[in-house]
Symmetry: C2
Subunit: 260 residues, 2 copies
């Protein structure tokens, strides 16, 4: 048995998300089936981030164990030959058998992309949230900064869910103007609640539209009440950019944003 | 009657190209049908460049005349409300009734995008030609420069076609490395033969792969023989970037490349 750490890119449009579902193509099923065809037996794949339907990845990390002896570069080729072109393994590295893609992750970086122009872009419709009206990026960035630190993010978790703890450590949270009409929200944390980034973005957009002042973010956070936050931003703007591990697992290169 | 010059962006994937066909969605049919719904009668639209199936545009220019009195900004909104989100009117300007989008065009700029990395990108699969092996960009650029000037481009026209003249004036022709794994070919000319840019790119890639020296380009050009040139590069890498007119028609802003 050898355990591998894979780095994946995928265009989440048309996929049902990471987790295997009863119907629809999930990234987990695609990767597990490709690995099973290679290994001649069922293979279980574990991802660092269980991305939702429509969410993209440039640096998802997946762990799996194979019985067949294979070198990492050959594994990349063999898996890509069996995966659809919307999903690519961009790197593989053999790691200790104790490796767990989710539990060993030290931090994850997500990027949310907003296309802020009166007229939507045909080329960004699958990779950004189109917002036609003016957005106050400086106010959004001030509100985003409020989230840094070890906080209870219950106000931003998916409605109806009650995880063991909603406390997470956010190391970076900022909004900036990108090229052309692009606005990006970048967030790094030790973990994320379901829909957390998209709920934060929906809240930031309320501030950007000047319906709420930047100080409102602190109120929403303190309330721990999902109904106080903004709408859930659509999935097509969200990218899992990279996953950081401690040095012994940090072998493979992380993804770069190809569409920006 | 008022004549309008429209600037269009479109994602050509899934479209049969500019020209109306018996089956499949053409940009011409989409624009003419949207304008007809607005004007209550048939409307004919003429494009600067009759882009092929799968080819994209960031600055296509289209001319059409309407009986209904409407201001340019309202026309943009009304047409976009009727067009699919893969096609956007990004600007409109009223022009003299003598305006002809194709015959009055002084020059057109095309960009061809190559994604040159061992592993294809899920985010570039629709917007670039994936070439896995190494490409000598300096050699490609030298070969591209050979095409500048007033030349007979018969060697690069679509097989089987015999236009009145295959002489065109190329004002700029160069290859450069872009961000990450991107290589771009930019070409400006007073007009283009059918498949000309894609046939040039197929020829440039032969040079890039070092199967031919840069000097081969001059031989191919001089031969005026289509069978001497390289393969026709796939349509998904090609973008009509902008169309230039003389001052009196140069009202609307031209497109910028959103995907690069």
């Amino acid at each position: 048995m050898a355990t591998f750490k894979l780095t994946l890119e995928y265009d989440g449009g048309g996929l049902v998300g990471w987790q295997r579902q009863r119907s629809g193509a999930s990234i987990q099923a695609l990767v597990e089936d490709a690995a099973a065809a290679l290994d001649g037996r069922r293979v279980a794949a574990t991802a660092a981030g269980r991305t939702d339907a429509g969410v993209h990845a440039l640096g998802q990390v997946v762990g799996l164990a194979l019985e067949r002896a294979i070198e990492a570069p050959a594994l990349v080729k063999a898996l890509n030959a069996r995966l659809p072109d919307s999903v690519r393994v961009v790197a593989a590295a053999e790691v200790p058998s104790s490796f767990h893609a989710r539990f060993d992750a030290r931090s994850k970086t997500y990027r949310y992309r907003i296309w802020n122009a009166e007229i939507a872009s045909p080329f960004e419709r699958r990779y950004a949230w189109h917002i036609g009206g003016a957005l106050d990026v400086a106010a959004m960035d001030r509100a985003a900064g409020v989230l840094c630190g070890r906080r209870d993010f219950a106000a931003f978790q998916a409605a109806g869910r009650v995880p063991a703890s909603s406390v997470r450590h956010v190391m970076a949270s900022s909004v900036a103007r990108g090229e052309r009409s692009l606005i990006t929200y970048d967030v790094i944390a030790d973990g994320f609640l379901r829909h957390m980034v998209r709920n934060i973005v929906g809240t930031l957009v309320e501030v950007g539209r000047r319906r709420r002042p930047p100080e409102w973010m602190a109120e929403v956070l303190a309330s721990r009440d999902r109904s106080r936050a903004g709408q859930t931003a659509p999935p097509e703007g969200l990218f899992l950019m990279r996953v950081e591990y401690n040095a012994r697992f940090q072998a493979s290169p992380s993804g770069t944003l190809n569409v920006a």
